[in-house]
């Protein structure tokens, strides 16, 4: 076999291999989705590529689980409020740091960047949270994450490259820094701010360790931790399944678990096709600047 023929064989094998890896990445998500809309009794005897006996019974039953609606509300609230605050505050901090007349700006910037490599550890963090009276409050999900050093680097780098003319003419017209930030720097930085918002949104939605460490109050339970508890104790269902007996379609603990999993993963699955290009851009930027 000559070289180019051998390369063709390699190319084909490569595509097949990559297809299989891609399939292994995607199929589990597809599987839980089709399982959650299948008749649990039929699905339990095995499904592959298509749902069997379409039903919405799983979703209807999941709605009856105690506190699930509240946990969803907490998860959405922390995602929306946390993300908004992170974006606005980090952008404002970054904007201030780009101005040479600000005293000690290098010192502040370096201190923040170095903090990425410093971790006091679990107990010291726990004591701080306790001292600040943040334990068992909703704010424990928000305040510690307001400034994320990595985002600060990204945003500051981006803002430094913005054209200065617009800002200067605004200053000449007597606008202050806050106005210029709000009306010029912030809107012009939208591409990087969107990236950061998506990063942080996913982060907030997926967070549960802070819930486990600092918020034992059941009112603050997030969807993520609730799912973990349901799987680990296998208590998804006893009560909800009983209440479901009157229906012709019977749900199973597994079908309910998968349905909740779909509920938790769906928001990310839905936004992912739109945000993956931001991620790729973001990491490229990080790779170049880092």
């Amino acid at each position: 076999m000559n070289y180019s023929k051998r390369y063709k064989v390699f190319e084909l094998a490569n595509v097949v291999l990559l297809f299989l890896i891609g399939f292994a990445s995607l199929y589990p998500f597809y599987y839980i989705i089709i399982y959650s809309i299948s008749d649990p009794m039929q699905a339990s005897s095995g499904i592959g590529l298509w749902p069997k006996g379409f039903t919405s019974q799983n979703y209807q039953t999941v709605l009856k689980i105690d506190n699930l609606a509240h946990a969803t509300f907490i998860s959405i609230a922390r995602t929306v409020i946390g993300t908004l605050l992170t974006v606005v505050c980090t952008a404002m901090f970054a904007y201030g740091l780009t101005k040479p007349i600000l005293p000690m700006r290098k010192f502040m910037y370096r201190t923040v960047v170095i903090s990425m490599y410093i971790s006091a550890g679990l107990i010291p963090a726990y004591l701080l949270i306790t001292e600040l009276q943040l334990k068992n409050t909703f704010l424990v999900y928000i305040i510690p994450m307001i400034i994320v050093p990595f985002y600060l680097i990204l945003i500051k780098t981006y803002m430094e490259d913005l054209p200065a003319e617009m800002e200067e003419s605004a200053f000449v017209e007597g606008a202050g820094y806050f106005t210029v930030f709000r009306k010029i720097a912030f809107p012009l930085s939208m591409p990087i701010l969107a990236t950061v918002a998506i990063f942080q949104g996913v982060n907030q939605w997926n967070s549960w360790v802070d819930n486990l460490y600092y918020a034992t109050d059941s009112n603050l339970m997030t969807l993520q931790l609730m799912l973990l508890n349901l799987i680990q104790t296998q208590s998804v269902s006893a009560s909800v399944i009983d209440s479901n007996l009157v229906n012709t379609i019977k749900v199973t603990p597994l079908s309910l678990q998968m349905t909740i999993t779909v509920v938790v993963v769906l928001p990310i699955l839905l936004v992912y096709p739109y945000f993956q290009r931001f991620f790729i851009k973001g990491i490229m930027l990080g790779a170049v600047k880092g």
Binding site: M92, G121, L122, I123, T261
Partner: protein
Amino acid sequence: MLNMRRERIKRVLPLLAMTVPFFLLVVTFSYVPLWGWYIAFVKYFPGESVINSEFVGFKYFAQIFSAGSQFENAMRNTLVFSAVGLILSPLPLLFAILVNEVRWKRFKQFVQIVTSFPNFISWIIVYSICFTFLSVDEGVINRLLVNLHILDKPFDFLATSWLTWFLQSLISIWKSLGWSAIIYLAAIASIDPEQYQAAEVDGAGRLQQIRHILIPGVMPTFAVLFLLNIGNMLSNGFDQYYVFNNPLVHPKIDVLDTYMYRLGLVQLNFPLSTAIGVFKSAVSVILVFTANMIYKKVNGKGII
């Protein structure tokens, strides 16, 4: 003169208002807790005052190593998972090279997008998915293996301790492979295409181009990530090893991060848990600088 100064202060004031509060926030959450390391040196019980606690020197540090099998288990598992991680760290690079070889653009994009996705879901979701795929009663994998007569009866993968190291490493690769490859794809994309053209003129085949241009081109990126991984040898993370833990696999899955959590927030032994944290940080700094020194000896230039 005074007027100018006042003018300047007036100008700087809004900038200070935009930055100083957030700077203090970062200091509060990243630097202030460092004083908490003091707890590793005193006989402290939660709820008491730290200042009035009795100073006991390195007692708790000595206790780490005499704590017996619990610590030894956690330490061994930590090192095993980290070592496997380091050994497998060329895998994302290899994957990136394979993706880069694909000339069919759409497919290339598709593979990148799809394989990066698992990185963006929480470990709880990963656990839930593994549970449904590997469970004894209805697990897809078990059913497949039984139908193909590879197994006689369903096998409880998630509760089999001898399988834990392998299984957890596999799951961890599944979650991170595509995303880790993206940074290498970025590095590959930044290699000057003229280098390839020159090599082609010289008669270099694809494989030779990969060996002599691509690999040297991404080596700095690889080295930096490898060094960071070495620094994190004792911190494999908490999430994965917490969610997959169960009594049957516990001796093989408990790592320092989960052990610290149990000691600290479950058993409320704050000083011992903190001592392990301090120990981890110290080891991490030593490892990074040692690795950097070796790298410097070999390559003439350090990373840090």
